[in-house]
């Protein structure tokens, strides 16, 4: 990792300690507030990769990954928010006529943006029509936002529209609670077309390394907590760290985390780097967060200790950003050089 990247990571870390660490439980319970979105914007994180003319920072991909990793290690919800703004939102808007009008407002935090793209995840029907011509979109991420970027009723275009949360589902989302996931009723009369659905799909497919960076942050956040806990918690008269199964498993997971980090930040890019990192981090994040929770015992099961959120979020990111069989098949096709993994 070069010095610039190190400096970037330190900057994001300092920001996170100051603005996220002490409120991470509040973020889980009450959601990300506008004040934090403003601060993320002021730091240039909200539009990390977007063009400067729209208020973005035009950072390189690895600096962007560093931002995602560090933010996610404190609050995966915040990491995912920054990812959605950059890799999905700004990417979709960038080359459209709407960019000039809306992107500066979105990237400055003046207009907040929610996302409904479940349709491009395998086999998920994410919308239904309502009698009054509005569109009911299921499982929209960040449903409390001002505006939404969703796939339209025909399933062909991505539209930009206003909307309101439909009556509460009486259910907390599994993960990304800082953003929330809920059904949203969209006002189609005022909606504007942003781009083709296929372009959004491409943006998601091209952001494998970024998703892996979020997962790396989740892995780091969970393991660091478990390692610290194992140093201070005693059971049967010994520190947890002195029990070989705990010490060995946490340290091996930490090595895997470090190898993943080196791989993500190496500059000599393998053309399959994003996919490799994504599939590796997806599996590792589940193992690491499970072990981190287990190390905490009963306390790990309570939200106050801040470790169960990583367990939930690893699964939520895996479900919403990682596309299961689709991404596994993409890797197979790359490795075999031909269509594979499909009869």
């Amino acid at each position: 990792m070069n010095d610039d990247l190190r400096l970037m990571k330190e900057t994001v870390r300092d920001f996170s300690i100051k603005n996220i660490e002490n409120t991470s439980l509040k973020i889980e319970r009450e959601g990300i507030d506008r004040n934090l979105i403003k601060k993320l914007s002021e730091q240039g994180f909200l539009g990390a990769t977007a063009p400067q003319k729209y208020g973005g920072s035009e950072l390189d991909i690895l600096s962007y990954c560093a931002i995602l990793e560090e933010l996610s290690s404190f609050s995966p919800s915040v990491g995912v928010l920054v990812y959605l703004y950059n890799s999905i939102g700004a990417k979709a808007f960038e080359n459209t006529s709407l960019a000039e009008e809306y992107l500066p407002k979105i990237l400055s935090g003046e207009i907040t943006l929610g996302f409904g793209y479940g349709d491009i995840l395998e086999g998920f029907e994410a919308e239904s029509r309502t009698g009054d011509g509005s569109l009911l979109k299921r499982d929209v991420i960040f449903p409390g936002a001002d505006k939404f970027m969703v796939i339209d009723g025909q399933g062909e275009d991505v539209i930009f529209a206003s909307g309101t949360i439909r009556e509460s589902k009486n259910k907390k989302s599994l993960g990304m609670r800082g953003l929330g996931i809920s059904d949203v009723k969209l006002d189609m009369a005022q909606s504007r077309k942003v781009c083709k659905k296929s372009e959004l799909e491409k943006a998601l497919g091209n952001s494998s390394l970024e998703i892996a960076s979020i997962l790396l942050g989740i892995i780091k956040g969970a393991l660091d907590k478990a390692i610290e806990y194992a140093k201070v918690r005693t059971t049967f008269d010994h520190y947890l760290k002195d029990y070989s199964p705990i010490a060995f498993s946490l340290s091996l997971l930490k090595s895997e985390e470090e190898m993943l980090r080196s791989y993500i930040y190496e500059s000599d890019a393998n053309p399959r780097k994003g996919l490799n990192a994504l599939l590796f981090s997806e599996a590792l994040s589940k193992r690491a967060t499970k072990q981190a929770l287990q190390t905490h015992g009963g306390y790990g099961y309570l939200e106050d200790f801040g470790v169960e959120k990583f367990y939930r979020d690893a699964m939520a990111v895996s479900t919403i950003l990682f596309r299961g069989k689709k991404d596994r098949k993409r890797l197979s096709d790359e490795v075999f050089g031909v269509n594979s993994g499909f009869l």
Binding site: G123, G298, E303, D304, M315, T319
Partner: protein, 374 residues
């Protein structure tokens, strides 16, 4: 060797499943999960229906599995009002059984087991709550953590230290008492924000000079640790049943999705087929281990090795199956009921002795058994 349940148990199992399917609807399960509220109405209904029959431990085990298969939070909630009853049944006197247990069996009272302490976890012998004899009563001081039914129980079977811990023999000098929640100096505060099994009530208990009559001492003074370990040897079979219920329910719902809601051809995909086969195999293996542990236990020949294997393996199977269910059902699972199985499953690897503790027990028993076979 017969791997089938008796016809009576099969009928009972069917009755419990029908009860769970009609009462534990998505709406009800989501409500109690969201609100973290205890379903007292379901407790009463399940009692009226004869879902819980303490005269038959086999029925209890089957009921726990079938109820948790539909929803673990609700299933545990309706079967846990009797938690700790075996301690009184096995070691209590007639007065205690009559005064306390009969009320629980009639559904008039709820009980709980108060063993775990803050910072203590599975290390029961490290408990610090003290019980000091004073005339015809004991004065209890200390605190208990993660206590199921902590806020709703009328009384608890509680472990407390009646003499100082001495070096390596820390587990000596502990005794069990029946402590009523209305005793002066007793207080509880609900623990909120649990990852799963959120319909169950969990609390921290504080004991501030609580006066407990001597007649509430269970069995002999100083034998509490052994009583509790005996209890765990029983209850771990029931935790295995909870875990198998969760695992089986996750598989049920995955199959239902694959058949009715998944994109066409999903069920024919070999990756999917391998995954569900693996889930089903682990569930079946865990169930056989549980039956074996139960068979020993219910014939009064408990086998702690098999019991720990059953509890440890079943809870890992629950975590595995619920994780795979999420993987196979994706957004459908995330926005529906399957994600609850994923959150509920993890506690199985923690409570009633963590997976690590089960492994230590197995290893120690293996060492002991190999000594005696020489």
């Amino acid at each position: 060797m017969d791997f089938e349940l008796s016809d009576e148990l099969k009928d009972f199992k069917k009755m419990v499943r029908e009860f769970a399917l009609s009462e534990f609807t998505s709406e009800v399960a989501r409500k109690h999960d969201f609100e973290e509220s205890y379903p007292d109405d379901l407790r009463k209904k399940s009692l009226e229906k004869g879902i819980i029959d303490f005269a038959s431990p086999w029925k209890t085990m089957v009921a726990i599995e079938e109820l948790c298969r539909v929803d673990a939070g609700l299933g545990i909630s309706v079967t846990v009002p009797y938690f700790g009853a075996e301690v009184i049944m096995l070691f209590g006197n007639d007065m205690q059984k009559e005064k306390y247990l009969s009320q629980v069996n009639q559904g008039k009272k709820i009980m709980g087991l108060a063993v775990t302490e803050p910072g203590g976890g599975s290390d029961v012998a490290a408990n610090k709550t003290e019980a000091v004899k004073s005339g015809d009563k004991y004065i209890l001081n200390g605190s208990k953590m993660f206590i199921t039914n902590g806020q709703i129980a009328d009384f608890f079977v509680m472990l407390a230290r009646t003499s100082k811990a001495e070096g390596e023999k820390k587990h000596r000098g502990m005794s069990t008492f029946i402590v009523e929640s209305k005793f002066k100096g007793f207080s509880s505060s609900k623990l909120e924000g649990k990852l799963g099994v959120r319909a169950t009530n969990t609390a921290e208990l504080i004991l501030n000079n609580v006066e407990v009559p001597s007649e509430n001492l269970i069995g002999e003074e100083g034998k509490g640790f052994y009583y509790i370990m005996t209890f765990f040897n029983i209850s771990r079979v029931f935790v295995a049943a909870q875990a198998i219920g969760v695992a089986q329910g996750a598989l049920d719902r995955t199959l239902e999705y694959l058949k009715n809601n998944a994109p066409k051809g999903e069920m024919q995909n070999e990756y999917v087929q391998f995954t569900i086969s693996d889930m089903a195999t682990r569930i079946e293996a865990a169930r056989l281990l549980m039956y074996k542990a139960a068979s020993y236990l219910f014939q009064f020949k408990p086998n702690p090795t098999i019991t720990s294997m059953a509890k440890g393996y079943a809870s890992e199977a629950a975590v595995f199956a619920s994780e795979k269910a999420m993987e196979l059902t994706g957004m459908y699972g995330l926005s529906g009921d399957i994600e609850r199985y994923f959150r509920d499953a993890k506690i199985m690897e923690i409570w009633e002795g963590t997976s690590e503790v089960e492994k230590l027990i197995i290893a120690r028993m293996l060492e002991k058994e190999s000594d005696s076979s020489e």
